[in-house]
């Protein structure tokens, strides 16, 4: 093992993904061996390269108008194909269940009648939009893109932390991380069979085209961004570019008589599918916030008329409400007739009086999360909170029990991460991305591994000073062996690019000198 890792030991409480009781885990054996061939200085230099390349490429996210590069760590997060198969099936299952749930919520409401989930839980969600009730998307898909956040608990088991079926972001870093790692550590990457990630934009484009209103053989797809000051603008631009579609802002759109067009240099051009990266509330000032200039008035009317598909669908937020999260295992059983493949994190519903009482007693040992928060906002980790903070929390919970859930503190798994030139354990999570085309749920092999850079930090988020790791899903035949050469077969004849025999070189030189003599006068 490299000197860099010599003193490395995980943290006592958490599951370390690289080193276990038995030593280096299978997934990492070859990675550490390859990394070990480089000395520490070299690895540090490569880490520096990763840093500067993101600044040059403008691979950044925006916080309060300031662009920052998203730090990429030099040690990849590696998953075996068997580990991944479990994640892939579990994520796809969850997406299918959430699709069925959303169709039900904005359709018949069977689950309410059958007592699987109280109607009250859904309609009190701030992301429930009655205006889209009865709106049937062209091919029935509402979660065209899903990001399911997973963690590994103390024994290394994957658990679902939360679902994101509104506007999940981060997939661009999955693609740029891979490219950056290939250029920073070619010795290591080339020795492994890593399942590729660059197919994502085409999967997404295919799913978006499949969602077009019927009767449009060659639909126009656009990506709708709030603009350059949005934290994920880089991602919006990257997806648009890789799909070869226009990246539009609200002011580029025009709605007229139930149709949507973009303003081009040759006048208005119709649009059929909008992959929007703008939140529901800002999409259509005629329906939601009238002060929004990020969307376009009339969008919802056009969607209702079936002339344009909005992806992801409006109103999806009810499915990633953290209180609804507690019902998802039941929803999977109810809609799919299957047992959930991925475990959830134990969760208390605070609107239940018995749960509430227990939680209020144990506030100092639990994690409390607001149900509609994202990006780690508003989370209180009991053991780290002061008495004053806990008192304030208690008051807020009593005032709005619907607004909170509680979970035990889960020690997220750790992966060695370069901190000040040394390897130290840092907590990670994983956001796999799924694309639903209506006929198939595609799960991008790997997803975004986010790493909390401050020591011991359990909230893993880019807006909270996080970084990321390239996530490798190894193919079954993970390590590349040397190919045996076979004589006389498979030999590709190679012809030199330019055949310069000695004679020819001499001739060329003579010619050049000749030319100089003839035309040399004016030089």
């Amino acid at each position: 093992m490299s000197l860099l890792f010599r003193d490395y030991a995980g943290t006592p409480k958490a599951f370390d993904e690289v080193v276990g009781a038995e030593g280096v885990r299978v997934a990492y054996g070859s990675v550490l061996r390859q990394l070990g061939k480089l000395d520490g200085e070299e690895v540090r230099a490569r880490a520096e390269y990763l840093k500067s390349t993101y600044l040059d490429q403008g691979v950044t996210f925006d916080i309060g108008g300031e662009e920052r590069p998203f730090p990429l760590d030099i040690v990849p997060r590696v998953l075996l194909s068997s580990e991944w198969a479990e994640v892939e099936d579990g994520v796809a299952q969850r997406v299918r269940a959430l699709e069925a749930f959303l169709a039900d919520v904005y359709g018949e409401g069977r689950a309410f009648r059958d007592g699987v989930i109280p109607r009250r839980v859904v309609v009190t969600s701030p992301h429930y939009h009655r205006v889209v009730a009865g709106l049937h998307p062209a091919n029935g898909v509402r979660c065209h893109v899903a990001g399911i956040d997973l963690i590994r608990d103390e024994v290394g088991r994957f658990r679902v932390l939360e679902d994101n079926v509104r506007v999940p972001s981060g997939v661009s870093y999955v693609m740029t991380n891979r490219r950056a790692m290939f250029s920073a550590l070619p010795e290591v990457t080339s020795r492994h069979r890593i399942r590729p990630v660059e197919g994502y934009p085409l999967q997404l484009l295919a799913a978006l085209r499949a969602a077009a209103p019927s009767g449009v053989p060659d639909p126009t797809v656009v990506v709708l961004t709030p603009g350059v000051f949005n934290s994920a603008y880089f991602e919006h631009a990257l997806l648009a570019r890789m799909m070869g579609v226009e990246l539009v802002e609200g002011r580029d759109l025009v709605c007229h008589s139930g149709r949507v067009s973009i303003r081009t240099t040759h006048g208005l051009r119709p649009v059929h599918v909008i992959y929007r990266r703008v939140d529901d509330e800002f999409l259509d000032p005629a329906q939601f916030r009238s002060d929004s200039v990020l969307g376009c008035a009339g969008l919802l009317t056009a969607a209702r008329a079936g002339n344009v598909t909005i992806a992801n669908a409006i109103g999806n937020g009810v499915a990633d409400d953290k209180l609804v999260y507690t019902y998802v295992p039941d929803l999977i059983r109810y809609y799919l007739g299957e047992e959930p493949l991925l475990a959830s994190v134990d969760t208390w519903r605070l609107e239940d009086p018995a749960h509430r009482e227990e939680v209020l007693d144990r506030l100092a040992e639990l994690v409390l999360k607001p149900v509609d928060g994202s990006g780690g906002k508003g989370i209180v980790i009991g053991p780290k909170a002061t008495v004053k903070q806990l008192d304030a929390l208690r008051a807020r919970i009593l005032k709005d029990p619907r607004g909170w859930i509680a979970q035990p503190v889960v020690q997220l798994s750790t992966v060695p991460t370069m901190i000040d030139g040394q390897m130290a354990p840092r907590h990670v999570d994983l956001r796999p991305f799924a694309v639903n085309s209506g006929s198939d749920v595609y799960v991008l092999p790997g997803g975004l591994t986010r790493v909390a850079l401050p020591e011991g930090e359990l909230i893993v988020n880019s807006s909270q000073g996080g970084g990321s790791k390239d996530t490798w899903v190894l193919a079954r035949d993970a390590v590349r062996g040397k190919r045996r050469r076979r004589r006389g077969r498979d030999v590709v004849a190679s012809v030199p690019l330019v055949d310069l025999g000695e004679e020819k070189v001499a001739h060329q030189q003579a010619q050049q000198q000749q030319q100089t003599r003839v035309g040399g006068g004016s030089c």
Partner: protein, 308 residues
């Protein structure tokens, strides 16, 4: 293509050309002070700032020139502001410009922002900016499809080049009559070598003016740049298919300006030069407005006004 993106590309072209030409003009100015001790430094500074459209000042010197025209990002006619503008426009058109071109623009911006330009010696700062601009436009030409987007980029570049060359020629007026004045204009256009090769060693001011204004083969001459802008407009207008005349306002403006230069009697090229250069700048402005009106105006602000 999206009107907003077309506008961004047009401005990337303009800003990059502006950065490069401002470099050249300031370099010429500094050279002039070195070459000709009879020039009053402060007068020359004031004239230059006026020609470059900087807000009028009571007094100025070389330090002030360097601040306002080179490194102060808050001064709208500075090199730093132009590069910042190009970078911002490219960021807004990021899915349209090639990755390599975006990186070229972005690394250039990273290398000059935050006062980095000011910390370089002026000579190396100018060379750095000129080289970076050459890298960017070379990368654009080689890595972007020469489709509508690229045509807008080329159009912006050509119009800005006409405008800036006109300003450069106006600065020659500062030292009118001295031997170095037209040489400096030629150097400012990067045309000195090409000029000497075309006209030989023994030349007059008229020859130099003719070269910078009228040469059909030199890419920075006014006529060449006007023709390039017209060609880009003609390609953008392909669909119009008219048999007679030009419907397009910007084409008419630029074509008229070019004819006025080209059909002027050979001996009278130096007459009224400053006034004609000012006129040329005005034409560039009007052409730019006409292009905005025709191609970009549908990108105007959102029309929804909220009813609370």
């Amino acid at each position: 293509m999206l009107s907003r993106i077309a506008e961004s590309l047009f401005w990337i072209g303009r800003y990059l050309e502006r950065a490069e030409d401002t470099c050249r003009i300031v370099e010429v100015h500094l050279q002039l002070l070195l070459d000709d001790p009879s020039v009053d430094q402060d007068d020359a500074a004031l004239t230059l700032l006026a020609v470059m459209g900087a807000p009028s000042l009571e007094a100025a010197d070389t330090t002030e020139v360097l601040r306002l025209l080179s490194y102060d990002p808050t001064s709208p006619c500075s090199i730093a502001a132009a590069l910042g503008g190009a970078r911002e426009a490219a960021r807004r058109a990021r899915e349209t410009v090639s990755i390599e071109m975006w990186e070229a623009i972005n690394t250039t911006w990273n290398s000059v922002k935050g006062g980095r330009l000011q910390r370089m010696r002026p000579a190396s700062a100018f060379r750095h900016v000129r080289e970076r601009c050459a890298v960017i436009s070379g990368t654009a030409d080689q890595t972007m499809s020469h489709d509508e987007g690229w045509l807008f980029l080329a159009l912006g570049r050509s119009i800005e080049r006409v405008d800036m060359t006109a300003r450069l020629i106006s600065t020659a007026h500062i030292t009118a009559g001295t031997q170095s004045s037209w040489n400096n204009v030629l150097r400012g256009c990067g045309a000195h070598h090409a000029f000497v090769r075309s006209y030989g060693g023994v030349t007059t001011d008229t020859d130099a003016a003719e070269f910078v204004l009228l040469d059909r083969l030199f890419p920075r001459s006014v006529v060449h740049s006007l023709a390039a802008a017209e060609a880009a407009l003609a390609e953008l207008n392909l669909a119009s298919g008219r048999r007679a005349g030009y419907e397009d306002e910007s084409t008419r403006l630029l074509g008229t300006a070019r004819s006025a230069l080209e059909y002027r009697a050979p001996g009278r090229i130096l007459e009224d030069l400053p006034a004609r250069m000012t006129e040329l700048q005005r034409t560039c402005n009007q052409a730019s407005e006409a292009i905005t009106e025709r191609y970009f105006s549908s990108s105007a602000a959102a029309s929804w006004s909220g009813g609370n």
